[in-house]
Subunit: 333 residues, 6 copies
Amino acid sequence: MTRYGTQYGPDITFLGVDRCDLDDPGSYAGADVVVVGAPFDGGTSHRPGARFGPMAIRQSCYLPQDGSRPHLALRVDALRDIRVVDAGDVEMYSGDVERSIGALEEAVFAVASSGAVPLVLGGDHTIALPDATGVARHLGYGNVSMLHFDAHADTGHIEFGSLYGHGQPMRRLIESGALRGDRFLQLGLRGYWPGPETLSWMAGQNMRSFEMTEIGRRGLDDCLDEAFAIATDGCEGVFLSVDVDVCDPGHAPGTGTPEPGGLSARQLLDSVRRICLELPVVGIDIVEVAPPYDHADITAYLANRVALEALSGIAARRRGITHDPAGPLLEGR
Amino acid sequence: MTRYGTQYGPDITFLGVDRCDLDDPGSYAGADVVVVGAPFDGGTSHRPGARFGPMAIRQSCYLPQDGSRPHLALRVDALRDIRVVDAGDVEMYSGDVERSIGALEEAVFAVASSGAVPLVLGGDHTIALPDATGVARHLGYGNVSMLHFDAHADTGHIEFGSLYGHGQPMRRLIESGALRGDRFLQLGLRGYWPGPETLSWMAGQNMRSFEMTEIGRRGLDDCLDEAFAIATDGCEGVFLSVDVDVCDPGHAPGTGTPEPGGLSARQLLDSVRRICLELPVVGIDIVEVAPPYDHADITAYLANRVALEALSGIAARRRGITHDPAGPLLEGR
Amino acid sequence: MTRYGTQYGPDITFLGVDRCDLDDPGSYAGADVVVVGAPFDGGTSHRPGARFGPMAIRQSCYLPQDGSRPHLALRVDALRDIRVVDAGDVEMYSGDVERSIGALEEAVFAVASSGAVPLVLGGDHTIALPDATGVARHLGYGNVSMLHFDAHADTGHIEFGSLYGHGQPMRRLIESGALRGDRFLQLGLRGYWPGPETLSWMAGQNMRSFEMTEIGRRGLDDCLDEAFAIATDGCEGVFLSVDVDVCDPGHAPGTGTPEPGGLSARQLLDSVRRICLELPVVGIDIVEVAPPYDHADITAYLANRVALEALSGIAARRRGITHDPAGPLLEGR
Amino acid sequence: MTRYGTQYGPDITFLGVDRCDLDDPGSYAGADVVVVGAPFDGGTSHRPGARFGPMAIRQSCYLPQDGSRPHLALRVDALRDIRVVDAGDVEMYSGDVERSIGALEEAVFAVASSGAVPLVLGGDHTIALPDATGVARHLGYGNVSMLHFDAHADTGHIEFGSLYGHGQPMRRLIESGALRGDRFLQLGLRGYWPGPETLSWMAGQNMRSFEMTEIGRRGLDDCLDEAFAIATDGCEGVFLSVDVDVCDPGHAPGTGTPEPGGLSARQLLDSVRRICLELPVVGIDIVEVAPPYDHADITAYLANRVALEALSGIAARRRGITHDPAGPLLEGR
Amino acid sequence: MTRYGTQYGPDITFLGVDRCDLDDPGSYAGADVVVVGAPFDGGTSHRPGARFGPMAIRQSCYLPQDGSRPHLALRVDALRDIRVVDAGDVEMYSGDVERSIGALEEAVFAVASSGAVPLVLGGDHTIALPDATGVARHLGYGNVSMLHFDAHADTGHIEFGSLYGHGQPMRRLIESGALRGDRFLQLGLRGYWPGPETLSWMAGQNMRSFEMTEIGRRGLDDCLDEAFAIATDGCEGVFLSVDVDVCDPGHAPGTGTPEPGGLSARQLLDSVRRICLELPVVGIDIVEVAPPYDHADITAYLANRVALEALSGIAARRRGITHDPAGPLLEGR
Amino acid sequence: MTRYGTQYGPDITFLGVDRCDLDDPGSYAGADVVVVGAPFDGGTSHRPGARFGPMAIRQSCYLPQDGSRPHLALRVDALRDIRVVDAGDVEMYSGDVERSIGALEEAVFAVASSGAVPLVLGGDHTIALPDATGVARHLGYGNVSMLHFDAHADTGHIEFGSLYGHGQPMRRLIESGALRGDRFLQLGLRGYWPGPETLSWMAGQNMRSFEMTEIGRRGLDDCLDEAFAIATDGCEGVFLSVDVDVCDPGHAPGTGTPEPGGLSARQLLDSVRRICLELPVVGIDIVEVAPPYDHADITAYLANRVALEALSGIAARRRGITHDPAGPLLEGR
């Protein structure tokens, strides 16, 4: 099902962690997290390039690619304190969305079935459909809530004549029953899409979407508190889907559909940390990093840190580490 | 007076709205807003490129150029709920500032005289002189106040031997009587210009300028409240002039004279929305987008959203739409 | 079949020529050339971005977009001396290669059936399959020869599990019988692809491929002479397919799979001119311009000139203009 | 000891201030501040380019290079109200770190000995070792505290086999006794470096490091208050070391080791102003501006303003200027 | 008349040569060549940025800015063997073309009157009018021939309503009688401008224009031979005007109106060397370097070398140096 | 001696060939070629960045990183027909040139001693000293000739106070006796360095340097013929050192000291192929690729192809493959 190594560029793993092979379940047995690359951008409605996202996210770091990243504030080394392995990329031909998402869904399902958390590096947001479906197939349809960071609701019906693309995954997930609409939390929406008909559909599903105006007025932490309460109400696990365009284009220029007025990088990192520390996260994807539009790699660096912040949160939660990140960094002062 | 279509590049309109012809008043009779391009950068004291601003601002959007933009938070579609048309570019030869601003002033006056709000896409800030003059000629000298977002006061006397340029329009407007100095509100000033003599002149005019330190200490909304009270005291209309360099260069790198330490994109968008919702805006210009220095088009995207936020505010105000943008996005939750 | 206007960005035509509508045959009846945009890059094996090719090629010119381009050397104004119209873009969803190429083939066939030369602006090279097929359906399978400028043979069998992509169109065209292998001329090949098996298949088809070493040793004009003789032997028309990566990356950096050591821009322009002046060209495509990787738009400028050089050659041939482009530019000296 | 003019590029001074010659003490006698360029990037562990920092910081400004910069909010012209001169660059061969830092230490010591504040423009952070040592040699080892803005602690022991590099200067300074560990204040740390062993060493030195989580929770001004109290407890002077990577990569992309989630440019400028207004600053360096990775020069612009904000703070402190920067900009309103 | 130093950026001279002051004739008495900066781009019909040309051309070199450049092949050090000084920039406000070219003409006339060769660094090609006029005023109208390297004829009549701009200088020069049409040599023309009417006017002036097709067919040296013969027939001096867009955009991307299919950098350098070695050059300008569109500074590097090649040719001619540049570089082999 | 994997970025090999370990001679026993990365740029006199050269050259290719590259014209697959392995990077701290070149010399000597050809990927040209010395130590001082492609002679004496840097390696090699001056062939020199004294030293060593003027006049192949005759006169092996700046900046912008007027990419590739086919090459380095200054990776692509062209030539020579690359590509035509 999976191809050896990465689809674009050399055969590397996320910051040098060990490799596993999805065709060999023993290679990831006992893993806490399995990284999967989803180098697909055939579903983008505007700027492509996210196919190079997995390669960029895996390596955009100035530290050695040595499979170790001690988190300064949390005092945990996620790449060592829990077992994180990288399965390489799923082969996803951008010219054939249906075959591509099918292959990815099987890969994610295999990871989830092993008990590990799949961490999928996109790719455009089309992949949220197979990502969350793969997890829900294992944990049970309707048993997983969604925390979705994005400038866009991604609840379109049909675009360019297709049911599958980066503007429609959330609708497909709710329609199929994989995820419950009333446990679907969206943060960071803004701009000029979608229109009334789609918003009406969303309201009909009892989705809870926090537009930037509400976040600005109430504060992000207050909105997160409300979202956490909904997310954990009757669901066993939480899927975290992070579209980097939730951040302002000043912080994340390298993306396909930039929408001004978003979160700062700091806000996104803090949110992802809280989620993975406080909630039972069962699947993650990080999407829409488009290196051709990046400069000085700052968007790829950000996505790499989103992944590490998530992994560090999971590690601290699993290992019961309780260092207070808001206190003084060093003991004694 | 106007040239057919755009001066630089192909003949397009703002996000696909209908075209009008300034030489044919019937073509924009009844319009709420008329977009006018001012592709001039002969007045820049440093980096040129703003001549390509109109072309960039009109099309920098990842959505279809279909003349429709439903605002997610305000629940209004400015391009449909009010009548917005685009008159193309005024021919402005950057090598001849005096002839260029004369032509623009006539174009803006024609729009204002029709009862529509001119929305002028610059170009460098030189154009604020003809923009606000054109409006004041219609509404009466001294009858229009100014809300001016900028890192710079633009109240210079003579630069490079000329009275006209992007550092002097605000002085010319007050000197001519078109605008009253004591109804001139500036937000976002910072940096190392102008010097004491010019500041003294500004104080003598009873201008009210909010430097970033004051904004940071008091909060932007508090400053806006004060500014709104002054702006509406004895003036019938408000002219809104937005220089994108009011934002931090991290959010708006594509500009001619970037000054670190500015507003975030979110702050600018929120301010523009408030102004157009709460005040009787009679003219707008958006200036100093310099595409050659932009990357991933993020500055042009921002300026496009400033225009849409303004149009959406006007539309909501005119149509009496009262959806609370700070509440939950979707009904029922 | 076609969408109104362009798929990405505003609704523009090639340098301002008149628009036509493929659904309204009367709108292009009597046209000499019909421009068709093919904004597809789902078939690229590496860097995407060619979906923005049509938009970039149509407008990358510093002269007014006024539907006139007098050729300095040929003394013909192709946009006026013959009738060139633009049908806008065919809707091509990059996530669905089969549906996309089907739609394009119908569009090209419609144009060819009208008697006009289709000039297709790509898009990745996947589109050569529907482009040449659409023409061959009108003129007869096997009745059209191919002049193919490229660094790559594009004769792969299956890539990423698909028969359709930018590395396989030439094989599909010969397999289907649309084009004859022994009237298939390739110029500019180089590098490290394909391998022996594919080369053997190509030899078996009696293709004639000029690798850069042969071109360098013999001279390009000598190779063209040989190619012209083959191309016109028993075929009624010639299809010209220009992949900009035939040029050296120094001259055409904005492309998906750059291969160092190619033709200069001058050589490509001269070749295209000769072909359209000397041969009965019945269809053209210009592909693999990837704006995200371009700088200062030089690749888009080049592709725009390739289109104009072709159009000018066709115009001179059709209008019987015999000005000697190699003589003094001006009369009297 | 110093080379004539700048090591890279033409012979310019910081915004056009007068030149001095370190070999001629009379040329800077009585100066308040002496600018010194340290064009060294041999100590970077990742992206180089900071060698061009001095040249970029000196001139990245859109105003005339005329040796005058009236600060809008502080009402002081640092380049005129105090005496600021520029000694050009110290010759620093990036291939020989030990010789280079030796030469720089002598230059800084010479400046400090004259009673002037050295303002060193880096260069990578390796130079903090000679910078602070040069000052401490004059004022007495242990008599100078450190305010260090950075994403990184820079307290590594040995990297690439060397004691000297941009990740180790702070350790060397404490080890040598030049600076006291318990008067060493760090602001803005974050990310995944260093590991527990180094953190333990830091705690053992009684350093006080404010990680971004603490800053975010408490507010920057509160942290600064605490830091100021420590810094002035028993030390006569404060050294201010600003690594531009303390800012978020969105605000400062042009740097060698960008770490997402940092301060905004506004926060950095405000902090530097407070420090130089409120504390007895005796030396400054501004480091890690890497122009090859900058875009639209925004990082260089920021560093230029950090320098000016520092100079303006010093000038206001020395000249007793008490204009309230948080009040209305103009008198009378 | 001239401003002290450069108009944009710091006060530097061409590669560190001595400065002179046009208001002080003694400062350039006896100079062989006087460099003059013309930072004007108000006359560009498309991409601006050439105002930064003088600053970029002066310093784009990786060698020390030390006023010495030994030419490897010619064995002459133009900056030392003849006297080259730099007068800084003429103040040219891009918003006022008429005043700007008036000021430049006076500056060039002053230089020419002193007996020195003016080497004017543009700026857009508008400046050729004052440049060549200033020289002709000294040597006599009609007494100077023109060697003009360009993709464009620059013989337009009126553009954007103005007689003055970068598309019209050559027409103005012939109309005024400053230069003779029949001693006007153009090399490198190509593309789609101007149209028949203008070509007819050019033919009527007996201009001799070498389009790239003719150059390609005959070879550049053969065309130069013919041009040299005409240029020296009855004229005492030759003015050399080099628009960098004569080179292919692959070699010179940083320019305002790039036209594919031009000369290589090598061909331009060789031509400029021949001209300055073999002909009595009395004035030079190098124009249309637009740094905002350059990458890795390659266009500015090229223009710097065009200037040096010209200076070296002049130096070798004046000093009678006869080293054969086509022979072995080193003696003895 | 060597570090595991690459010094900067993830652990990859040249296009996916097998890895070897210099500390384990068995891992490269019997290899034909051993790739060694030299990530050092501490010796650059201007733009740094070449430290990222090895990482960029290893992977800049759009084909799968699968350890196979069938050469289209030569009909050889160098990565399979001979044994090519990659030893990763030698740890080279840019801040310590002497230690770095010592480590590299040992690595190259180890490779050469095993009988394999070292292919060193730089890194700046400083590394030619340890590269050629390492080979000469094995084959005998004076027994190896040099073919050196470069814009610069690299025969400086002392720069920035150091004997070691990217401008001096060729002098050091001759001084030490490792290479004979009279078997030292340089191709592509041009520009304004070095001065007469150094040229005189070079002549005294009986070096043979082909400046671009001579190459342009005689043709590159004629010069190569002469060089080959000298290179093989009394020497057993040839070292090939390719500085990418031998190419014109239009073809190789991503380099530290670009000099306009160089070879085309095609010329360089053809030359390297001839050399490796016709001469007994015993060592190769490819240097001065500086990714921070590259765009669209075209310089890295070129360097990757220089390496492959060399490997393919070696493979064809060793395997006795005699396919005529200048003949028709395909059999039968």
